[in-house]
C-alpha cells in the first residue's frame, strides 16, 4: 500500500507537536478540521450529501428501490453500501491499482456493521408489505479527494444523506384475487422521511506516539501505527469499534481512546443536526453550491 512519504525529521516534528497538544495545522488533539456539509446535491438520487473535511471530500447518494425483504427478517428493509472513487490517484494514493478494491470492500464492510441495524435506523419503517416488498436503500459513497480520516467524513455524509432522503409514498392495493399492486401517489411532494436521530457518527482515533488524535491528516497517519474506529450515537453510546492498522494497542490506551472518542462523537451530533435542519428550512430558496466551489 503506497502512502505519503514522511522523512524522519518530519516524523519527529509531528510527534513532538502532538505530545504538546499542538498539531502541524494548529489544532489540538481532539479538534476536527473545518467541515462543510451540503445536502441535496445530486438531483437524480432520493437523498444526497457532500462533505468536505479539510482536503478530504466525499459524496454520498442514496437511491431507494423496491426489493424483497431478507428471508430471516421479513418485516424490515435494508441498506446496501458501495464505495467507489472519483479518479483513483486523485482521491487517495491507497486506491492505486488493486488496492482500491480492497479498501472499498473494507470501507463498505465497516459501513454495514455501523449503519445496517435496527438500532441505528428504524429499518421496520422501510417495510412495505412484510415478506413481499420493502425499500432497499442503496448507499453509494463516492470518494472525491482523500486527505485522511475517510471514515469520519463518510459517516457524516451518510447521516446527512439519510436525513435528506425522500422516499416516495406507496400504497398497496389488493385486488379481488389477493394479488397485490403497488400504487404511487402522483404528488412528488408526498414522501416519507427517515428518522436519523440514532444514526451514529464514526470517530477515528489515531495513536501517534503516546497520545492519540482525531481527524488525522495523511501526514499524521503516516506517523501512526494503529488506529481505533468507534461509532458513537448522539447519546454517546458506542455501537461499534474496530482496530485498523498494522501496529498494536495496549488495553490501557484503548480505554483512553474510547473515552475520548465518546466525548468527541457525542459533541459531533448536535451541530450537525442543527445545520441540517437549518438547511432544510431554507427549502427551494437555498442557493446550491454544488461542485463548483
Amino acid at each position: 500500500m503506497a502512502t505519503v512519504q514522511v522523512s524522519e525529521a518530519e516524523k519527529v516534528y509531528i510527534l513532538h507537536g502532538i505530545r504538546d497538544d499542538l498539531r502541524v495545522d494548529g489544532r489540538g488533539c481532539e479538534d476536527y478540521r473545518h467541515m462543510e456539509v451540503e445536502t441535496d446535491v445530486v438531483s437524480n438520487t432520493d437523498g444526497s450529501a457532500k462533505v468536505t473535511l479539510g482536503h478530504t471530500a466525499v459524496l454520498v447518494g442514496i437511491k431507494a428501490e423496491i426489493g424483497k425483504p431478507r428471508p430471516m427478517i421479513a418485516n424490515e428493509g435494508y441498506l446496501e453500501f458501495f464505495v467507489d472513487w472519483w479518479v483513483s490517484a486523485n482521491a487517495t494514493p491507497e486506491f492505486e491499482g488493486r488496492g482500491g478494491e480492497e479498501l472499498g470492500t473494507e470501507l463498505s464492510n465497516t459501513l454495514y456493521k455501523v449503519f445496517n441495524n435496527q438500532h441505528s435506523l428504524d429499518l421496520k419503517s422501510l417495510c412495505i408489505s412484510p415478506g413481499e416488498h420493502c425499500w432497499v436503500l442503496y448507499v453509494d459513497v463516492l470518494l472525491l479527494q482523500c486527505d485522511g480520516n475517510l471514515y469520519d467524513a463518510i459517516s457524516v455524509a451518510i447521516k446527512a444523506a439519510l436525513f435528506n432522503t425522500k422516499i416516495p409514498r406507496v400504497h398497496i392495493s389488493t385486488d379481488e384475487e389477493g394479488g397485490k399492486e403497488i400504487e404511487l401517489s402522483d404528488d412528488p411532494y408526498d414522501c416519507m422521511r427517515l428518522d436519523v436521530e440514532n444514526v451514529p457518527c464514526i470517530v477515528t482515533l489515531c495513536k501517534i506516539g503516546h497520545r492519540h488524535v482525531v481527524d488525522a491528516t495523511l501526514l499524521e497517519k503516516a506517523c501512526s501505527v494503529a488506529s481505533l474506529i468507534i461509532s458513537v450515537t448522539h447519546r454517546g453510546i458506542i455501537t461499534c469499534s474496530r482496530k485498523v492498522g498494522r501496529g498494536s494497542l495496549d488495553p490501557e490506551s484503548i480505554c483512553e481512546m474510547i473515552e475520548a472518542g465518546k466525548r468527541v462523537g457525542k459533541a459531533l451530533h448536535p451541530p450537525l443536526m442543527k445545520l441540517l435542519q437549518q438547511e432544510e428550512s431554507l427549502g427551494k430558496k437555498r442557493q446550491k453550491v454544488g461542485f463548483l466551489c
Binding site: 438531483s43 423496491i66 385486488d175 379481488e176 404511487l184 402522483d186
Partner: protein, 951 residues
C-alpha cells in the same frame, strides 16, 4: 436558467423510478402580438385589431382557452370566426396527452395562417414557468400555469399607447374554481359557453357547443335506464382474471338491439360474443373497445335474423323496453345458441363526428332534437339547436359528448352542415366521411416534394436505367383512364423465343421514403374510385402525368421482362428500372378491334396478338391449377356531360383483352412476389387470400341443392370444376348466380408481412405466393413492393423501416383497412347513383332472382341493373301475413307461396324518398301474386317522361 423537473414513475418490473429532466428557461420567447414593441420577433401572428362582436368583451382581445375548453369545444374553435387565440404550451401538451385526434385538429388550426392562433411556450419562458408546489395536484399546477401566463400576457400587452380600451387577454375556462382564482388576480375570465353566447354576430356557434356536465342533467329524466359502467381499474382487474373479456363492439347493421363483440385471442383463437337488448348493450357505440361479461349458459341466445330499425318517433326515455325487445325472442334451437354476454364497462370510446340528418322535434319551440346518423350501426343522438328549421333536409355532422345512464340516447352537439340531402356533392362528401376516406386537397408540405415542372429526363437518370424506348410498348386500359400504371410489349427474339415485358410506372422514383408525400400516400393507402370521381392517393401531377405511362412520351418504368417459349413457359425472368416510350394507349375495345382486324399488321397489333395468344395459354394453366373465376355484377353509369347525373346504366362487359392484361399482371405479381420473398424472407410485403372455413359454403351448397346441383368445396379446384358444370336447363342465369353466391362465401384477401405469418397461399388465384406490384399509382402496397424489388436488384438503397417487420405489419393493417373502406365507399357511391337514376325513372317493373331468404324478407337481385334490394313481408302499418321460415332450405313460406333461393320473381323498383332520412330503393313484389302482399304491376311507363329524359 436551469431548472429540473422531477417525477417518480413505476417501472414495468414493479419498481419505482425517480426521473429527473433538465428544463431550461429562456428569455427570448416572444409574445407574437402585432402590438408589442418589446419583443424582438421577426413576424407576428396575433393581430392588432383583434375584434369580434361580443357583448361581454367589446374591446379587442385575445383568447386563452384552458385545456378542457380545447378538448371539449374543439368544434367551436375550428370555426373560422374564432381568431386571435393564444394556445399555451401547457394546454397543447395536455391536449396531446389526452386526445390525439383533438391534438391533430388543434395543430391544423394553428398552422392555418388566417386563423391567427399563436402557440406560446410558457413552460420555457422565464417569467411564466412555475414549479409544482407541495400539496398541489398536477391539474392544479397546470391551471395555475395557465393563469400565470394569461396574467403575464395582460401585463405585457399593456403598452402606453394602447390606453384603457387597449388589447386585453380573456381567459376561457369551464372550471368554476379556476375561474374564481383567475378573477382574484384581476384577469378577464369567462366560461366558454358564456363567451360564445355573447358573440352577437355569430349566433349559430352556440349549436356547436358541447354540453358540459351540469347541462346534461337537465335533459334527462331521473329514471335510470342503464346499469352503471364499472370503473377502469375494476375492468382491468376483471380482464386480467378472465372474468371479463375485452373486445371491439360491432353493432349490427340490421338490428339495432343486437351487436357482437369481437374478442381478439392468442393467434387465430378469436371469438365473438353476442350482445342482445338495450340493457346488455349498455350504451356501447359501434367500434368502442368494451369489456363484456358472459351470461350463464342457459341465457345464451341465437342471433336473430330479423331486420329491425329504430325508426319510431322519438321515444321517450321511459318507454317500456320489453315491448321493443320481445321481437327478438324466437324459438331457440340448441345448436344456434351462441356465447352471449353483456357490456360491463367501456375501455375506450371510439367516437368520431357522425354524418346524418336531423329528426326535427314535433314540438315547434323545442331546441332538442334527435339526430339520425347515416350509419345504421350508430344510435340516434340527441342534440340541441336553434336552427332546426334550417338544418332539416340537410346533411349535418354531429359529435357525441356523452351518454348518461338515465338517457335513452347519447347527447351530442352540432358540428357543421354538409349541404342539402340528396345533392350530389353533399352525398359524396357524406360517403367519403362515413368511410373514413382522406379526401382533403394535398397540403403544401406534401406538394413541396413533387418534382419541379417542366420535368425532363436527365442524362444521369438515363445512365442508371435501361433504355427500352425502342420497344413497341403499348397500354390497354378502360376508357377515360388517365392514371395508366401498366404497359406491355411482346416481340419475337432471334432465337425463336418470345420476349414479354410488363412495364409498371416507376412511382417509387418520385416518392422517396419518409417525406411528407410518402407519409400522405401511406396514410391514404389507395386511390378511391367513385362514380365520376377519383380521390387520388398521390397528387395529380404524378398520377395523371409524370407517372402515367401515356403514349409518345418518355417515362420511367419498372420493367419485368420474361423470355418465354411458345407454350408460355417462363425461361428467364429479369427485373430492371427502365425508360420506355409507349407507342399507343388503347382501350380494351380498341385493342380487341386491332387483334380481330385481319388487315392490320403493324408492330403494335403483332405485339398484341402475341400477348393475347400467351395470355390464353396462361389462363388455361391457371384454371387447371384450380384458380376460381368468380362473378360479381359491376355496373357502369353513363353520366350526362353537363349535369353529371347518370342517364343510363349497364353492366360491365368483359372482353378478351381485359383478361389478357389481367393475366400478365398476375404473372408479374407472382414473379415479383417470389423474388422479394427470396431476397427478404422476413420483410416482404405479400398478399394472401385465406381459404374460407367450410361452414362459409353452407349457403352455397344448400342453394345449389335446391336445384339438384352438387357443389364440391373440398378444394379450390373442386369448387371451380363443380361451378363450371353447374347448369340448370332453361335457367341461363343460374351459373352466374351461383358464382355471385360463391363470391360472398370468400374471405377478404389481405396484405401481410412475410416475417409475421406462415400461410402465404392465395386461394382465389391458386398461387402459393402473391403480391401487388402492378398499380403503384393507385395502391401504396405496390410502392413498398417496388422499393423492396429495387433494393433486391441493387437499383435503390434501403431504409430501416422497410426491413422492420413490425412497422411493415402496422402498415399492412392500415392498407387493409383503407382498401376495405374504399370498397365500401365505392359500393355506396354506386348505390347512390342508382338512386339518382331511379329518381328520374318513376316506378319500373323488373325481373329478378331471390338471392337470400331471411325470416321476414327476401333479398332480390336485378341482373339488369346489378341491383340488390330487400322485399319486406311485414310492415308496421298493416297486419303481416303468415310467415314460416325454414332454416334448412332455406325457404320462407308467405301465406301460400314458398320462396327459395334462385326463385325468379318480378318486382317494382322505385325510389322511396318519402323518408328523407334515408332515401332508398324500394322493391315490392308483383309476381308471384300473393294476395295482401304483392302489389299490382305498374302501367306501362309514361312515354312522355321517358322521351324527355332520353333527349
Amino acid at each position: 436558467m436551469l431548472k429540473s423537473k422531477t417525477f417518480v414513475k413505476k417501472t414495468r418490473s414493479g419498481g419505482v423510478m425517480k426521473v429527473v429532466r433538465e428544463h431550461y428557461l429562456r428569455d427570448d420567447i416572444w409574445c407574437g402580438s402585432e402590438v408589442c414593441t418589446e419583443c424582438k420577433q421577426d413576424s407576428t401572428v396575433l393581430q392588432k385589431d383583434a375584434c369580434i362582436e361580443s357583448s361581454l368583451c367589446p374591446y379587442p382581445h385575445y383568447l386563452v382557452p384552458d385545456t378542457n375548453v380545447v378538448l371539449h369545444q374543439i368544434d367551436v374553435l375550428e370555426d373560422p370566426v374564432i381568431r386571435n387565440v393564444i394556445i399555451l404550451q401547457t394546454v397543447l401538451q395536455e391536449v396531446r396527452h389526452r386526445s390525439a385526434p383533438v391534438y391533430k385538429r388543434l395543430k391544423d388550426i394553428i398552422h392555418e395562417q388566417g386563423r391567427h392562433f399563436y402557440t406560446f411556450t410558457n413552460e420555457h419562458h422565464r417569467e411564466t414557468f412555475i414549479e409544482r408546489e407541495p400539496g398541489e395536484s398536477a391539474n392544479d399546477r397546470n391551471d395555475r400555469a395557465i393563469r400565470v401566463a394569461a396574467k403575464w400576457y395582460s401585463q405585457h400587452l399593456k403598452t402606453p399607447e394602447s390606453g384603457p380600451d387597449g388589447l386585453k387577454v380573456v381567459l376561457l375556462t369551464n372550471d368554476q374554481s379556476n375561474k374564481l382564482k383567475a378573477e382574484e388576480t384581476g384577469l378577464a375570465v369567462y366560461k366558454f359557453d358564456e363567451y360564445i353566447k355573447s358573440l352577437t354576430g355569430n349566433p349559430e356557434l352556440v349549436d356547436c357547443l358541447a354540453l358540459s356536465n351540469d347541462d346534461k342533467n337537465e335533459i334527462t329524466s331521473s329514471k335510470v335506464l342503464f346499469p352503471e359502467h364499472l370503473p377502469l381499474s375494476k375492468v382491468q382487474a376483471g380482464i386480467k382474471s378472465g372474468s371479463f373479456l375485452q373486445g371491439t363492439f360491432r353493432a349490427s347493421r340490421d338490428n339495432y338491439l343486437e351487436a357482437t363483440v369481437f374478442v381478439q385471442g392468442e393467434g387465430e383463437d378469436s371469438t365473438e360474443v353476442l350482445i342482445q337488448g338495450l340493457q346488455n348493450l349498455n350504451r356501447a357505440v359501434h367500434q368502442d373497445v368494451v369489456a363484456v361479461q358472459l351470461l350463464p349458459k342457459n341465457q345464451w341466445v341465437a342471433p336473430s335474423s330479423v331486420v329491425l330499425q329504430d325508426d319510431g318517433a322519438a321515444k321517450d326515455d321511459n318507454v317500456d323496453e320489453d315491448e321493443e325487445e320481445k321481437v327478438l325472442t324466437g324459438p331457440l334451437t340448441e345448436t344456434a345458441r351462441r356465447a352471449t354476454g353483456k357490456v360491463v364497462g367501456i375501455i375506450k370510446r371510439n367516437w368520431r363526428p357522425f354524418c346524418g340528418m336531423l329528426n326535427v322535434s314535433q314540438i315547434k319551440e323545442s331546441t332538442r332534437h334527435l339526430f339520425t346518423p347515416a350509419d345504421r350501426r350508430i344510435p340516434r343522438i340527441r342534440i340541441e339547436t336553434r336552427q332546426a328549421s334550417t338544418l332539416a333536409g340537410q346533411r349535418i355532422m354531429v359529435a357525441i359528448d356523452g351518454w348518461p345512464k338515465d338517457s335513452r340516447y347519447p347527447n351530442g352537439h352540432f358540428v357543421r352542415s354538409l349541404g342539402g340531402a340528396g345533392e350530389k356533392d353533399t352525398e359524396e362528401e357524406v360517403l367519403l366521411l362515413e368511410h373514413d376516406v382522406p379526401h382533403q386537397v394535398f397540403s403544401q408540405a406534401v406538394l413541396s416534394f413533387l418534382p419541379k415542372t417542366p420535368w425532363s429526363i436527365t442524362p444521369e437518370d438515363m445512365a442508371q436505367r435501361q433504355d427500352l424506348r425502342h420497344l413497341t410498348v403499348c397500354s390497354v386500359d378502360p376508357p377515360g383512364c388517365t392514371d395508366i400504371d401498366d404497359a406491355l410489349h411482346c416481340r419475337e427474339l432471334e432465337n425463336g423465343k418470345l420476349e414479354v415485358g410488363v412495364h409498371i410506372a416507376d412511382v417509387s422514383h418520385f416518392i422517396r421514403p419518409g417525406n411528407a408525400l410518402d407519409k400522405e400516400a401511406a396514410n391514404r393507402g389507395t386511390t378511391v374510385y367513385l362514380c365520376g370521381k377519383r380521390i387520388d392517393m398521390v397528387p395529380e401531377l404524378l398520377s395523371s402525368n409524370l407517372c402515367s405511362l401515356r403514349s409518345n412520351v418518355e417515362r420511367f418504368a419498372f420493367s419485368c421482362i420474361w423470355e418465354m417459349n411458345h407454350k408460355a413457359e417462363i425461361l428467364k425472368t429479369r427485373f430492371t428500372k427502365s425508360v420506355i416510350n409507349s407507342k399507343a394507349s388503347l382501350t380494351y375495345a380498341e385493342a380487341q378491334m386491332r387483334i380481330d382486324d385481319a388487315n392490320k399488321n403493324d408492330d403494335i397489333t403483332k405485339s398484341l396478338r402475341g400477348l393475347n395468344k400467351l395470355a390464353k395459354i396462361l389462363k388455361r394453366k391457371r384454371i387447371e391449377n384450380g384458380a376460381l373465376t368468380l362473378s360479381s355484377l359491376e355496373v357502369r353509369f353513363h353520366i350526362d356531360s353537363e349535369t353529371h347525373d347518370p342517364i343510363d346504366l349497364q353492366t360491365k362487359e368483359l372482353m378478351e383483352t381485359n383478361s389478357m392484361v389481367e393475366e400478365f399482371m398476375l404473372l408479374a405479381n407472382i414473379s415479383v412476389a417470389q423474388k422479394i420473398y427470396d431476397e427478404f424472407p422476413e420483410s416482404a410485403l405479400l398478399r394472401k387470400h385465406p381459404a374460407p372455413p367450410p361452414s362459409n359454403y353452407d349457403i352455397l351448397i344448400k342453394a345449389a341443392k335446391s336445384k339438384n346441383v352438387m357443389i364440391h368445396t373440398d378444394s379450390a379446384k373442386a369448387l371451380a370444376d363443380s361451378l363450371d358444370v353447374a347448369k340448370v336447363d332453361g335457367f341461363q342465369y343460374f351459373n352466374t348466380l351461383l358464382r355471385i353466391l360463391a363470391t360472398r362465401c370468400m374471405m377478404q384477401a389481405v396484405y401481410f408481412c412475410s416475417g409475421m405469418d406462415s400461410d402465404f397461399h392465395h386461394y382465389g388465384l391458386a398461387s402459393p405466393i402473391y403480391t401487388h406490384f402492378t398499380s403503384p399509382i393507385r395502391r401504396y402496397a405496390d410502392i413498398i413492393v417496388h422499393r423492396l424489388l429495387a433494393v433486391a436488384i441493387g437499383a435503390d438503397s434501403t431504409y430501416p423501416d422497410l426491413m422492420d417487420k413490425h412497422k411493415q405489419s402496422a402498415l399492412c393493417n392500415n392498407l387493409n383497412y383503407r382498401h376495405k373502406m374504399s370498397q365500401y365507399a365505392q359500393r355506396a357511391s354506386v348505390a347512390f347513383h342508382t338512386q339518382l337514376f331511379f329518381k328520374t325513372r318513376g316506378i319500373i317493373n323488373e325481373e329478378g332472382f331471390v338471392l337470400f331468404v331471411r325470416k321476414n324478407a327476401i333479398i332480390v337481385l336485378i341482373p339488369k341493373f346489378g341491383l340488390e334490394g330487400t322485399v319486406f313481408f311485414n310492415s308496421k302499418d298493416k297486419a303481416s301475413p303468415s310467415l314460416v321460415f325454414d332454416e334448412e332450405g332455406p325457404s320462407l313460406k308467405v301465406e301460400q307461396h314458398t320462396f327459395h333461393i334462385f326463385d325468379q320473381v318480378k318486382v317494382t323498383i322505385s325510389l322511396d324518398d318519402s323518408n328523407i332520412q334515408h332515401q332508398k330503393i324500394r322493391m315490392a313484389l308483383t309476381e308471384p301474386v300473393i294476395p295482401g302482399v304483392s302489389v299490382p304491376a305498374p302501367e306501362a311507363e309514361p312515354q312522355a317522361k321517358k322521351q324527355k329524359l332520353d333527349r
